[in-house]
Each structure stands twice: as C-alpha cells, then as structure tokens.
C-alpha cells in the first residue's frame, strides 16, 4: 500500500502545468467563448510536442503506453486551466479505443495522426449525442446499438446546440450507421465500450478536480485582497468557514479520483465502482466549490466580465457529463445494497 505518485508522474504534470500557464490564460478560454478557438488549438500543438497526445498509444503506434494513472494529473491541470479542448475524448479514451477496436484501415488512417496531435477525436456514447467540440474535431467514435463506429467528421451532421459554457462549442451529432464506419466486429465491443465509458468518466473527474482547485484559489485570493469594513473579507469567520468547507469537499474527492485511476491502470475488478465514486465526489466538490467561490466574490463573481463564471459553468457541464451523480450512485447501489 503506497498512495503517492512517482517523480516522473509529477514531472509530467509540471510540464503540462507550465504549458497551460503560459499558453492557456483565461483570455484563451474567453476567446473560445467568443468563437475564436485558435488559441486553444495552438495549445494542442504545443502539448503534442511534449508527447502528451501519444501518451496512451502503444509503443508500436508511436506512443508511450502510459496508463490512466500517468494521465490523471495532466488531465487535472487541463481542468485547472479550463482549457477548452476534447483532451479526455482524444487521449484518455479515443486513442486506446481506436487502437483496440479500429480496423487496420481505420488505424492506418487515423492513429498516427492522433498520436502526433494532428487530429482531434470526440466521443458519442449511446444516448449521448450532444457532444462538445464536435464541429472543430476530425473524427467521431460512437456507440450505437452496442456497436462501435469510427466516422470521419466530414460524414457527421453536427447541429449546433448551446451550452451555458459557450467554449464547449456543443453540437448534436448524427451519422449513417453503415458497415463502412463499423469498427472491428471480431472483438468484445461491449467490454471495450464500457471500459471506454469508465475512462471518460475518470478523465472528466480529474478535470473537475482541477476546476475545483482553480475556483478555490480564485476565491481564497479574492478573500485576501477584497476589503470591506476596513479589513480583508477573509478575516470574517463566515467567509473562512465557507472556504474551509470547500477545501474539505475537494480534498476528500481527490484521493478517490487518484485511486480510480490506479484501478483502471491495473484493471482492478473494483474499477467500475471506484470510477463511479470518483465521478460523484469530483462533481459534487466542483459544484460545491463553485457556489462557495461565487458567494465569496459577491456581485463581481456574478458577471461575465470576471473569469470565475467560465470555471463555474464548465463545472456544471462536466459534473453531469459521462454519467451524472444519479447514474453513478445507482451503479454503486447495485453493487453494495
């Protein structure tokens, strides 16, 4: 029993953190809100240079054969920066799924490009046809009637939707469910897809932890700076206790996310339950922290002009993405009751 990351894992996190700090300041998120995605896309290229996009591909495919455990901290950082990009879809889920379930032809066409960071993959599981960043991506991997499909975005119809988080560039996807885009049929697609769903949920949980940390940082800084009644509002106990509660929610969610990553990385039998726990607690924490952060900011936090709202709205979106709390609670309930 040793609950700690390796130095290599932390180094990778630091690399991603530095890139995002430099290239994905709030202005980049704000630009995506206004329909300008160049900044966020440039970050993709820079991170591709660090090898991040190929992390989960096998070595034969030019990747690093890394696991959910190696990926969880970098993904947390992408949440911290609120980087608007389908990084979970592409790296945590899409690439391993393409490698495991793609036909030779599909792999040849898409895998090297994905590993090199030249294309972006988005996912649409059964019943989840509203997809973020679909219009700006290149490949859709979808589950329909229990079968897996790999569809070039050129053949996908994307009807724009509107997320409260504009930077998600949301759209409803549909495509011709034909044999041409079917993925391999000689394998257990069901098992691969359920693993893919767990990977997506875990990746999303990691991002939620990052979002939560950033909102708490913003609120703590604001509580130190903002003065009323001649002193910082952070001297007030009501403000302190709100922020202490936020930290508790966040810090008890965090180990659950790391543990779920370990379970996925080691194919532990308890992985599905661990992922559900992680997703529920990370979603709860991020939404709770969002509320506390807004209250601590007062009216400035209630504007579009101030940055906090972009993190809050992302938290609302991701808390329900890849299984909301009710879905995951049910999964656990079936296991333990």
């Amino acid at each position: 029993m040793r609950f700690a990351f390796t130095d290599d894992q932390k180094m990778l996190r630091d690399t991603v953190r530095e890139v995002l700090q430099r290239e994905c300041p709030p202005e980049v998120v704000r630009a995506a809100w206004e329909g300008r995605h160049e900044g966020a896309k440039a970050v993709w290229s820079t991170l591709a240079e660090t090898g991040l996009m190929g992390m989960t591909a096998s070595e034969e495919a030019g990747g690093m054969a890394m696991t959910a455990l190696d990926l969880v901290l970098p993904l947390e950082e992408t949440g911290y920066a609120a980087w608007p990009a389908p990084i979970v879809d592409t790296v945590a889920v899409g690439i391993p799924l393409l490698e495991a379930a793609g036909t030779e032809e599909q792999k040849e066409r898409w895998l090297p490009a994905a590993v090199a960071g030249r294309i972006r993959i988005v996912l649409s599981f059964e019943g989840q046809d509203v997809v973020a960043h679909a219009a700006s991506s290149d490949l859709l991997i979808a589950e329909r009637d229990g079968a897996a499909f790999c569809v070039p975005m050129a053949e996908v119809t994307v009807v724009p939707e509107q997320s409260v988080d504009r930077s998600r560039d949301l759209g409803r996807v549909s495509f011709d469910v034909g044999p041409r885009s079917r993925m391999r049929q000689d394998i257990d697609a069901g098992a691969l897809l359920s693993l893919a769903r767990d990977r997506a949920a875990l990746g999303t949980a990691a991002r939620l932890i990052g979002l939560s940390r950033r909102m708490l940082d913003m609120a703590v800084q604001y509580a130190k700076d903002r003065e009323q009644f001649g002193k910082p509002i952070g001297t007030q106990q009501a403000v302190k206790h709100r922020l202490a509660n936020a930290l508790i929610e966040q810090e008890f969610a965090r180990p659950l996310v790391y543990r779920a990553a370990w379970c996925l990385a080691t194919s532990a039998p308890e992985a599905p339950t661990a992922v559900s726990l992680a997703k529920i607690y990370a979603g709860q924490a991020a939404q709770f922290v969002a509320k506390q952060a807004l209250q601590v900011h007062g009216a400035i936090g209630y504007t579009i002009e101030y940055d906090l709202h972009m993190w809050m709205k992302r938290a609302w979106a991701l808390a329900a993405a890849h299984g909301d709390a009710a879905h995951h609670r049910e999964r656990i309930g079936r296991q333990i009751l």
């Binding site: 029993m1 040793r2 609950f3 700690a4 990351f5 390796t6 455990l69 703590v220 509580a223 130190k224 002193k231 910082p232 952070g234 001297t235 106990q237 403000v239 302190k240 206790h241 922020l243 202490a244 509660n245 930290l247 508790i248 810090e251 008890f252 969610a253 180990p255 659950l256 790391y258 543990r259 370990w262 379970c263 080691t266 726990l277 529920i280 607690y281 609670r329 656990i332 309930g333 333990i336 009751l337």
Partner: protein
C-alpha cells in the same frame, strides 16, 4: 502508487481476522462509559494485550508488534468489522502514548506503557476547565514548585471516564508571570491521591461518561512531567493533533458503521424508500472517501511529510459523516427511533440511538468543528487572522 496490500499485509489481516473471530465476545458488553461496563471492557483489553493486539504499532518491548501504520489501519478495519468492543484504553494508548514516544523519558516509557496497554492503569484526559474549553490557553489550574516535585490545584471538567480511571494528564500553569500558552507544563497525575475529588457527570445518553476533577495541593513528582517545564503547550498540541488526525478515529470504525447501516437497510428497505436508499449509499461512499484519504495521509506520514493542520480536515469529515450516518439509520428505524438500549422492543438493541447520541459529540470534542474550520482557513488556506 500501489494500492494493493502486500502479501505480508494480507497475511496480517488474516491473522487479525482469525484471532478476532475466535475471541470477540458474542454478547455485547455493557457501555464502556458506565462503571460496570468499564470493568467488562478492561477484561477484554487484557485479552487483547496478552495476544499482542492491544497496541499493534508499538515496539515489542512495550507489548506491541511493531506493525506499520498501514497494518495498524488494517487491524482497525478488522477490529470494528468483527464488532469488537470500543476501546476504553484509547485515551492512553492512542493519545498519551504517542506523546510519550515523542517527548517522554526512557524511564517514563518503561514505567507507563505496558501497564497502560494491559489496562492495568487507565488514563483520562484533563484539558478542559469550566472557563477553558475551545480557548484552552485560558486555563487556570496551577502547579506550585515544592521539594522533589509539584503541587497541583484547580478544576478540570468533561474528563471522559475519569470517574473510573486511575490516572489523568493535562496542562497546569507553572509560571504565573507568563500568559496564555506560555508558562504551562504537561503533567500526569493520579486520580486516587490525596487532594483529588472526582465527581461523575452523566452525559447526554445517561452514562456517567464525564467527570469533574477537583485538585487541592495534589503532589506530583518531577518524574511525571512530560517535556520541559513551561513548555507543555507544544507537547499538548502533539497529543491533540494525533487525536484529530489518525489515531482516534480510523476509517475501520466508519466502514463498519456503514456496513451495519446497509444491513439495517436490507431488513427495512420496504419502508425506507428511495431517498433513504440514496442516503445509505452516501454513507458507504463517505466511509470509502475517508478510507482512501487516510491511506493517502498514511503514505505521506511514512514519507516523513508533516501532516500538520491537514488533520483538522480529517476531524471535520469523520465527525460529520458519523452524525449523518446515524441520522440515516434512525430515519430507517422510523417511529421506533426513540427506543434506547434499555427498551425491550428496540431494533438492534437500541444501538443506533446510542450511537447517534455519541456521534453528536464528535463535532464538539477534540476541538470543535468551528475551531477546526478556523484552523483550516488560517493555516491551510492562509486566510488572515485579523
């Protein structure tokens, strides 16, 4: 990261489980916070000690088995899962002993630890005073220098099980010229000596679990001072941080409560309904969250990282989880929730109402949760004091 238990950890778990299965009393003991129950519990403690389970993480010379922190957590999981009795030796083994290991002399460790672990000498905490609760540094009890030792005077209160214990420990002002947390010294003192009056006080659940301690010129020798004279505050803080952190409430306890709640729900689910079902799941999940948080903490400790004020997060989490879990159980029990452990028709021997009343103390003792939140805000988040 490796969240599997090692082979030897698994073997250790099996050994705990086997022994507990064979030895845990079939019939529940009377409450350890009553005179009758206290002595029943001590008999059990002696059995634990003789088999080497009383203080698994201690060095063997004092009766332990040098278990690692992870093994200690495993022992606790098995202990509570087996439904073994609450530990009436806890204020000694889990709170005073860590202080002695850190600050005690060889002579003190030799003299005190084995009898403590065997339950031959039992220990109460004596920090609180009528006018010093959360604000412990406001304490008024004094120690006066005399030949070869000290004379203690003053009044302590809310001292758990002091009505039945042999010894107590706490802070006394040794330097009247210094204020607040300076000039205090950490003493161990007898509860049956001349000049000591102990008066039991019934707690919320009716057990005589509290006591007031009145001291009038009680003699204590220099050998019973822990740490330096006038430096008791720092020593005491070490004790309170083990209390808030790991040692007082390990995850095993709450995992066992969650398992019992699931069992209760299974029996009464027809009337529980979906909202309570969700709460039962939540109770289980919270216990899991606490468990993994704790394994993370223990890894940090084994890497010699200091946990410091983070232990306050722990204390808030487990205490509030425990209240919620018991509230859920009582809601499942419904109309009969008022039946306590003396009622013939009480479900599960009224242990949920009993446990609920005890759970309500969690946010108060070991530093109230308001104080913990102040600590988290100021020392972990760095918010300004004034």
């Amino acid at each position: 990261m490796d969240l599997d238990f090692t082979e030897s950890e698994n073997a250790f778990r099996q050994e705990c489980r086997d022994w507990l299965e064979a030895h845990v009393p079939r019939e529940p003991l009377a409450s350890g916070d009553t005179r009758e129950g206290f002595s029943q519990h001590l008999e059990w403690e002696r059995k634990l000690f003789d088999a080497g389970w009383a203080a698994v993480s201690w060095p063997t010379q004092y009766g332990g088995r040098e278990a690692s922190l992870v093994e200690w957590l495993i022992f606790e999981e098995e202990y509570y899962l087996a439904g073994a009795p609450n530990r009436v030796t806890q204020n000694g083994i889990f709170l005073l002993a860590p202080t002695l290991f850190e600050f005690g002399t060889e002579e003190q460790k030799e003299r005190i630890l084995r009898p403590m672990a065997r339950g031959d000498v039992t220990w109460a905490q004596a920090w609180s005073e009528p006018n010093a609760g959360s604000d412990l540094a406001a304490l008024k009890s004094t120690a006066r220098r005399v030949d070869g030792g000290w004379r203690l005077s003053g009044q302590k209160t809310w001292s758990t099980r002091a009505a039945f214990c042999d010894m107590a420990y706490g802070l006394f002002r040794t330097d009247p010229a210094q204020a607040r947390h300076r000039g205090l010294t950490y003493f161990m003192f007898p509860l049956h000596a001349e000049g000591v009056t102990v008066r039991g006080v019934d707690r919320l659940d009716g057990d005589e679990g509290f006591a007031e301690i009145f001291l009038e010129d009680v003699f204590v020798s220099d050998a019973d001072v822990i740490g330096e004279t006038n430096e008791g505050w720092g020593v005491a803080m070490a004790t309170t941080s083990s209390e808030r952190g790991l040692s007082l409430r390990s995850p095993g306890r709450f995992m066992a409560t969650a398992a019992r709640l699931i069992d209760l729900h299974r029996r009464y689910q027809d009337r529980a309904g979906p909202a309570l079902r969700d709460e039962v799941i939540r109770a289980w999940m919270d216990a899991q969250a606490y468990r993994w948080f704790t394994f993370q903490t223990v890894t940090r400790m084994m890497q010699e990282e200091s946990i410091g004020a983070d232990s306050s997060m722990n204390k808030v989490f487990w205490s509030e989880m425990d209240v919620r879990t018991h509230e859920t159980a009582l809601s499942i029990i419904g109309a009969l929730q008022e039946l306590d452990e003396r009622a013939p028709s009480a479900i599960d021997d009224g242990q949920w109402m009993k446990g609920f009343q005890f759970a309500l103390a969690g946010p108060i003792y070991a530093g109230t949760n308001e104080i913990q939140r102040n600590i988290i805000a100021e020392r972990v988040l760095g918010l300004p004091r004034k």
